[in-house]
């Protein structure tokens, strides 16, 4: 989702017999559903996996501000402008909680930012698609935040305490985000023919990228098993994707919109929808940096960071002067 391809140890999951005594105590706590806290002993692989996952998640929130921020100055009414601004602000807030959660694992926010700007850290593929019309703001809230919630609700039970607690706060805000997105879509489908066409076009463009948010199919997902054993991941990619499709298709029907998938059909036997093949080639290309907006997104983040250097340095310089004055006065 917001962390789509988190590298784990790359090794098979150890059985309790193969573990060292420390590992065994650790795994027993996880199996008993007791949270791991920053000062507890943890395997190096667990720590690294979490840092990767939480920082990817944080970066996704930060980069995720850009496609929606693109419409703040063009929002069609004062209410829509305020709601969108509040939503994008929430995302900055989510980024902040998550960076703080990752910092408890011994990595600083500046280090994580530098990794992102150097192209070494990933963020969700979804934010590399452009927001071309106002309906895209609706579609992002409805589909992208909808998919995010699907993945993040189980993360509230993540074995690592600080991450779990951050996710509890985030989930509360995400459900408001999804509702505002769906509300935009409702208004559009009840509006003029142009507005309805705008809504359908947005669904057409955001449907597949939203399904990709859950990550590659389970068969190709090499890092999942260890993460599941560690209680970092609770459900498989395909499980969550199926759940998302089953939840979203009736919502599209209610809107009077058509899901852009000719193979989509209800499967009575499994009690869920069958859906068409996802273009995984596109997904991997976007992850590699070849999506429609990868370049623009990274440029915008680099520009914010580089242009803001004087501001951060200025505040540091003032703090040093003030400290020096205080010492001089004593």
């Amino acid at each position: 989702m917001y962390a789509q391809e988190v590298k784990s140890t790359g090794k098979a999951v150890k059985s309790l017999e193969e573990m060292t005594p420390e590992e065994r105590v650790f795994q027993t706590r996880i199996d008993a559903d007791i949270k791991i806290e920053p000062k507890d002993w943890m395997p190096e692989g667990y720590r690294k996996t979490l840092v990767r996952q939480i920082s990817q998640h944080a970066h996704s929130e930060i980069v995720g501000q850009l496609p929606e921020g693109n419409w703040i100055t063009r929002a069609p009414t004062l209410d829509r402008k305020a709601i969108l601004l509040a939503k994008v602000q929430d995302e900055a807030g989510h980024g902040l909680y998550l960076y703080c959660a990752a910092e408890t694992l011994g990595v600083s926010r500046d280090q994580m930012t530098e990794q992102l700007l150097a192209g070494k850290a990933k963020y969700s593929s979804i934010f590399n698609y452009p927001t071309l019309t106002w309906a895209d703001i609706g579609a992002i809230g409805w589909l992208v935040d909808g998919a995010a919630i699907m993945n993040q609700v189980p993360l509230q039970r993540c074995s690592y305490g600080p991450y779990s607690r951050a996710m509890i706060r985030i989930c509360k805000e995400e459900s408001f985000h999804q509702r505002q997105g769906y509300d935009i879509m409702m208004k559009l489908v009840k509006g003029t023919p142009e507005q309805k066409a705008m809504a359908q076009d947005a669904l057409n463009r955001w449907w597949q990228p939203s399904l990709m948010m859950f990550g590659p199919p389970d068969a190709d997902s090499i890092h999942s098993a260890q993460s599941m054993a560690w209680g970092i991941k609770q459900n498989s990619n395909d499980e969550l994707r199926q759940k998302f499709v089953d939840q979203t298709v009736p919502q599209a029907t209610y809107l009077g919109l058509t899901v852009p998938d000719p193979d989509l059909k209800w499967n009575e036997e499994k009690g869920g929808y069958d859906f068409g093949e996802i273009d995984w080639n596109e997904f991997f290309e976007v992850l590699k940096g070849n999506g429609p907006c990868n370049k623009e997104r990274m440029e915008a983040r680099r520009k914010a960071w580089d242009d803001g250097a004087w501001f951060r340095d200025g505040l540091m310089a003032h703090a040093e002067k003030r400290a020096a004055r205080k010492i001089a006065a004593e």
């Binding site: 100055t73 069609p76 209410d79 142009e194 960071w305």
Partner: protein
């Protein structure tokens, strides 16, 4: 100025001026969302923007009510032409960099708070009510922007230079807030708004103290640039409005 048909033009203009200042500045600062120098600033600047947009809804809602022609706050924000906007020139000045953005905010807040505080005593209860709510927000804005102006003015060589350059560029626009015109005088004579010369005094005191602590100096004998209150704007406003109003105007009558 109350016309025979009951239209209170002075009150209408007062509400428009307050609303347009909030709207145009809110539009400017909201453009930073996702692009600020640090995450905490992204969040704080968005808060300021949200407060200003919220205030816009109240002021322009009141303006529409006074006008009595059925125009909503949205109609006034999204369907008025440049010359009908009543904001001071300062708030429409471009973001340029974060120094200009913060300095513009500070120079606005230093007027906004005493103005709203005075408006709490307005003879018009609807004005007093909006001022009551908005003054709390403006007090926080001023606290924040003064603090940053001081820290960055008295910060590194570069931050000092940038803040001074921003002050030089923006100072000429400050006079307009406190230079009374006929509308301001009419409002003051009816107790709807304050006597601007009292606000000017407060403004000069506050800014002098903060700029001194920031080791910045306001340019001496800078010309006063004004016109916005009467609808005579800088070239920047047209571009701001084209962006802000575009979607509404390209789908006439649509609901969003």
């Amino acid at each position: 100025m109350t016309a025979d048909d009951g239209f209170d033009e002075t009150l209408f203009e007062l509400a428009l001026r307050m609303g347009d200042n909030a709207l145009i500045l809110g539009q400017r600062v909201s453009a930073w969302c996702g692009h600020a120098p640090v995450l905490e600033e992204d969040i704080a600047m968005a808060n300021v923007g949200l407060d200003l947009i919220g205030q816009t809804k109240l002021w322009l809602g009141l303006a529409g009510e006074i006008e009595g022609k059925g125009r909503s706050a949205d109609d006034l924000a999204f369907l008025r032409a440049d010359r009908a906007f009543r904001n001071c020139l300062l708030v429409e000045q471009p973001n340029v960099d974060y120094a200009h953005t913060l300095m513009r905010q500070y120079l606005f807040d230093a007027w906004h708070l005493p103005m709203l505080t005075a408006l709490k005593q307005s003879a018009e209860p609807r004005v007093a009510e909006i001022a009551e709510k908005s003054a709390k927000e403006a007090a926080y804005h001023l606290e924040r922007s003064s603090d940053l102006v001081i820290r960055l003015g008295d910060g590194s060589v570069e931050s000092h230079e940038r803040m001074q350059a921003a002050l030089n560029a923006l100072w000429p626009f400050t006079g307009e807030f406190v230079a009374p015109d006929d509308v301001d005088k009419a409002a003051a004579s009816r107790g709807l708004g304050p006597d601007l010369s009292a606000i000017a005094e407060r403004y000069n005191e506050t800014t002098a103290a903060v700029l001194r602590d920031a080791t910045l100096s306001a340019p001496a004998d800078a010309p006063v640039r004004k016109g916005g209150k009467e609808g005579l704007h800088s070239e920047h406003l047209g571009y701001l409005l084209s962006e802000m109003q575009w979607l509404q105007r390209s789908h006439p009558g649509a609901q969003w």
